[in-house]
């Protein structure tokens, strides 16, 4: 029973960090994509 309780605690904390990091990296990727596109558009204009 003790092991299963730690499993749920670990799952909760693990999911929290994975969710926050995935969101942050996704936002970072969007930022880089936007900056690249701005550079491309600037060179074409």
């Amino acid at each position: 029973m003790v092991e299963s309780r730690w499993f749920y605690v670990g799952l909760a904390y693990g999911l929290t960090w994975v969710s926050l990091l995935v969101y942050w990296f996704r936002m970072r990727a969007r930022r880089i994509a936007a900056l690249r596109e701005l550079t491309d558009l600037g060179s074409k204009s």
């Binding site: 003790v2 730690w6 605690v9 909760a12 929290t16 969710s19 969101y23 942050w24 936002m27 936007a34």
Partner: protein
Amino acid sequence: MKELYSAASVPPRPTYLTWFGWFTLLFLIAAEVVGYMTSPADAGMGHLQKIMYVHVPAAWAGMLAFFAAFILSIMYFVRRSLRFDLLAAAAVEAGVLMTGLALVLGSIWGRATWGVWWTWEPRLTSTAIMFLMYVGYLTLRGFTDEDDRRARWSAAVGVIAFLNVPIVFYSVRIWDRGLHQLPSTSESMSPGYWNNLWLNGVAFLLVLGFFMASRYHVAQLEREVELRREENAMRGSARNG
């Protein structure tokens, strides 16, 4: 409205965001480590109690984000500035993340303590409805490319959807037949638990603030991309014409 996003300059990434990000990360790690290490096992649920330090702050942060979106939506109607629309959208996106997280973490906690992943009791049901309403807000934004129309629709939903937030908050008091416990307060728990909860609550609010500021910056960049595309297309058609 276009003067806010003139094509003359790319919105620079504010330097404070880097420091804010690092401070938030370190604060969150410290708050979780302190909560994890210093919190004694609960008499009933043992160490499962530690899930409270991520579940409750995520729920607080979600509701605060939706409150921010509500205020920003009203600000949009008053000022008619796209700045408030982009800020409200950033708040809703961060709020959906936090509320989704609170639902999943609550489900894990519920499975471990109640024996079920999900039950249709008032707090859980009203939170799920709130989550879906704000997912609808984000989906709605993709239905039109016209800035003013998108901002108007979003602001209307941002105001209407907020009506559900107080229902979620008071659901455990209004309906007393649910499984969910009453709101976590300094009176309902010993100081050791309350101080750790408060500390982790601050950490999650910092995360919320950082995500909102970062998302707003990305939205500004993406808006700039749209404007430059339009400018290039107009130049191209003028040359051809």
